[in-house]
Symmetry: C2
Subunit: 512 residues, 2 copies
């Protein structure tokens, strides 16, 4: 049987690399840990940006842009924050090159007085602006978002999932009190949940991270966690309530109604190019990527079957007319995105390229289609009937008329498929640590492991050293605490870690 | 007379700073030479991105993303290129901080083997990809664009116009021969011209830069030059034909029809946040910014006159209904962008804020407007009648119906105003260097100078040392060569620099 990929999901890590490569999404660069995002991968990011940006704006935030560099002294102001990031920072120390002994080197005379950090996140540099912008309670809330590149030096990288440079949006807000700041934190968590589910068709569990997984400097960190097809969890977005930690470190204060100076309560929240890795591992199959129509750069790709013969002109004309007609229609509240692929390569090669890239609808038109006024197409979400590729012919007018509804149906169907997988693979019947150990298998290689999914269990919410001990026991099983689902206690009972009565549920999983 | 700004264009440099500050566009950051782009400034940039991006895609280019960092050895490959940039590079030398003697410093054990350069431009890192992507003539052309931040260390900075970090797009293409590469270079120059004139309402002269103003490593550099209201020129976009310089340095080759390996001909072209400075200096007046509707983040801003009285509710309701109605209409091929400004500040303050920010239409609605079913509004492009602010009342339905045409008219009228200024201030009657000297005044302070505009004169197109000599003579007058207008020789005659017969016209001007 011919597959569009040479590797199946049986070997999940290699399959992932194959999709990234063969769907032309990204490739490693000669710069350690930095990736090159190729046009198809970038197109998916542009779609995600457009959809999430609309949500960010609709909830009252404004975009702005802050410097790439952060003075070392800024980042050192918040103690936990600098501890959390100090080990993975790119440091700029010079601003000029000089030829010395025939070799170009940093010019010793152009050494910076204070090193600059390439932003790993922008709480401190944006907080500095907040401290100047905010004077009175009338200036609050301040609701800012930034789309930017950030750098966190990584030794072991994986395209999209963990790279030294990545792209993201980071929201930063300041409020008059904790209630409003917590409300904002939860509002943006909900936006991430809705974005993941409705736009990316990726079901997630939203909840609070345990203390040991908090953002450095946060009072509370919330996440959305998605289940990949190998059963591992992917943290796909985080929202942090920062309390007054950063305000105190940076003197972000406002005069309240009674004229007293008070510290602001701040939040931050981010979603990154990591999400693209999540799309691959949620929707991909053994033929490559499958894209939910909402984030597909091209929703319908038309491959003309050209044979260097006179009838080619008619086929192309038919294709162009089809593009024009489809482009005028709307699906998922936007104009349908159609491409006629006129590259000078074989049409069968084109077809497989678009299968691997996951274009939702792939149309092939040849002289016979033109003659019959029909369209032959494949649905990428249901590519095969058994082993065979399934394509269907439809009268052209019917095809055009049906596309809006079909694209919307595909969006829902990909979501439903992933939802079923997640929902049916969160076990809440594992009640003791030894059962947990027996289920996941102590110390098995997480990459080669069979599909296990997640465990949802009650826990006593240990703190400090007790939490560290739990973390260490899980680590030995290559497991991590994901989050405390926001939908309340369901597994309950006694603490799976032996800490007495459960106070809340927590998700336990292997993770990216 | 009350003005929205405290400084008039009489003092142009200070006026510029005042507009940037008082229109809430940008501010200096604590990081040397880096700017903070505030929401209104960023909104203008988003508009420019959307409009230029559409042009870039419509001409067949695809967006992608390449690493922020460039290995030092890459940049050193093209000799002129590294010479041109070596003096203004931010160098990353370490990847970790360490506490030594109670102080956080770059960890000596985390020193990079090879320093990384924060990209000042991406020819070399993208060229490296091209050398891997391109094998055969069937792979050509490769047409890539990237939206990114870049860093060129600057000692004397001015917001938007010259900053160490700035944002831009950079196009990079590879072709089979010089004809196609030159054609691409000119195509993108034309896109910049059309973008500047039609979208930004900024008239420009497109032409080739003289050899001494070429991009480091280019065979030919073309630019669009715009005239600011102080008469100076602003280079607002450049397009470079790079020949095989970068291909040879980076081994970007393809197999031609006959199976022989040949070097690709490459191009690059860029437009940056500098353009925002150009918008200010082209369209601003003594009340602040005036925005062409196509690039205005909000084209119509409605200020409700609220008085903390019961009738406020009706005014707000009227405002919301107006927003809804206007938002459903199209102008300049896009939905009209409307804002109801509900901030808790005085409505007169709001009005002046929007005047300074240059919102094209500013509407004020109070109880009387509601009662009469009318709208009172100001056109920002014609704010005053003599010294008085001019506002007009119009029946609500008529107002809504007229907006699309009015916004389009304002776009054209701002362009026409700037076009007249430019066209009537390019002198071509100055024929000798001594006349040039007399006109501009030797060594006068360029910032305090009176309006002079540009001179278009014939020149003999000197090269090498002769060109350097011309450059030095002009420099003494604080003048520069801008470009050779693409519309042919009009001034002609003999060379203004005394080099015999003129071969072509060249623009001479003070410049940013």
């Amino acid at each position: 049987m011919q597959r569009a990929l040479s590797i199946s999901r049986q070997n999940f890590p290699e399959w992932y690399q194959a999709v990234v490569r063969d769907a032309d999404m990204a490739e490693p660069s000669p710069v350690r840990g930095c990736m090159i995002i190729k046009p198809w991968g970038w197109g998916i990011w542009e779609r995600m940006q457009a959809l999430l940006d609309a949500r960010i704006k609709a909830t009252g935030h404004e975009n702005a842009y802050f410097p790439l560099f952060i003075p070392l002294s800024f980042i050192a102001k918040e103690a936990e924050h600098v501890q959390g990031f100090a080990k993975e920072m790119a440091l700029v120390t010079h601003h000029r090159l000089k030829e010395i002994d025939g070799k170009l080197v940093p010019d010793p005379e152009a050494k910076l007085e204070e090193p600059l950090i390439v932003r790993p996140t922008s709480e401190t540099i944006i907080g500095d602006s907040f401290s100047r912008w905010i004077r009175s309670h009338r200036d609050l809330p301040v609701l800012i978002n930034q789309w930017a590149n950030v750098v966190r030096w990584e030794m072991r990288t994986r395209l999209f999932l963990r790279t030294s440079e990545f792209l993201w949006q980071e929201g930063h807000t300041a409020h008059a009190n904790s209630e409003e700041a917590v409300e904002e934190t939860m509002r943006m968590l909900e936006q991430y949940r809705a974005f993941a589910e409705d736009d990316v068709a990726m079901p997630v569990i939203a909840g609070e991270k345990p203390a040991n997984e908090r953002f450095p400097g946060a009072v509370a960190t919330y996440s959305i966690e998605a289940m990949m097809q190998d059963g591992k969890a992917l943290q796909a977005g985080t929202s942090h309530y920062l309390g007054t930690h950063f305000s105190e470190a940076q003197n972000i204060r406002f005069q309240n109604d009674s004229g007293e100076l008070q510290y602001c309560h701040t939040t931050s929240w981010g979603m990154s190019t990591r999400m693209i890795g999540g799309v691959i591992m949620t929707h991909g199959d053994d033929d490559g990527l499958r894209l939910p129509p909402a984030i597909a750069p091209r929703q319908i790709v038309i491959v003309p079957m050209l044979r260097d013969k006179p009838e080619d002109a008619q086929v192309l004309e038919y294709g162009h007319a089809l593009v024009k007609e489809l482009s005028g229609k709307f699906a998922l509240d936007e104009k349908i995105r159609v491409l006629l692929d006129t590259k000078h390569i074989k049409s069968s090669e084109k077809r497989w390229n678009w299968v691997r890239r996951g274009a939702p609808i792939i149309v092939e038109i040849g002289p016979r289609d033109v003659a019959n006024g029909q369209v032959t197409f494949m649905r990428r979400d249901m590519l095969r009937d058994g082993d065979k590729v399934k394509s269907q012919a439809m009268a052209r007018d019917e095809f055009v008329a049906k596309m809006p509804a079909l694209l919307e149906e595909m969006q829902k169907s990909l979501h439903a498929e992933a939802r079923t997988r997640m929902d049916s693979n969160i076990r809440s019947d594992i009640k003791t640590f030894s059962d947990l150990e027996a289920y996941f298998g102590a110390g098995s290689d997480d990459d080669a492991g069979e599909f296990k999914g997640w465990v949802r269990a009650g826990w006593a919410k240990p703190e400090g050293a007790a939490l560290d001990a739990v973390d260490a026991r899980l680590k030995a099983l290559k497991l991590t605490l994901r989050n405390v689902p926001a939908d309340g206690m369901k597994a309950g009972g006694t603490c799976i870690f032996g800490g007495g009565d459960a106070k809340e549920d927590i998700l336990i999983a292997r993770a990216y």
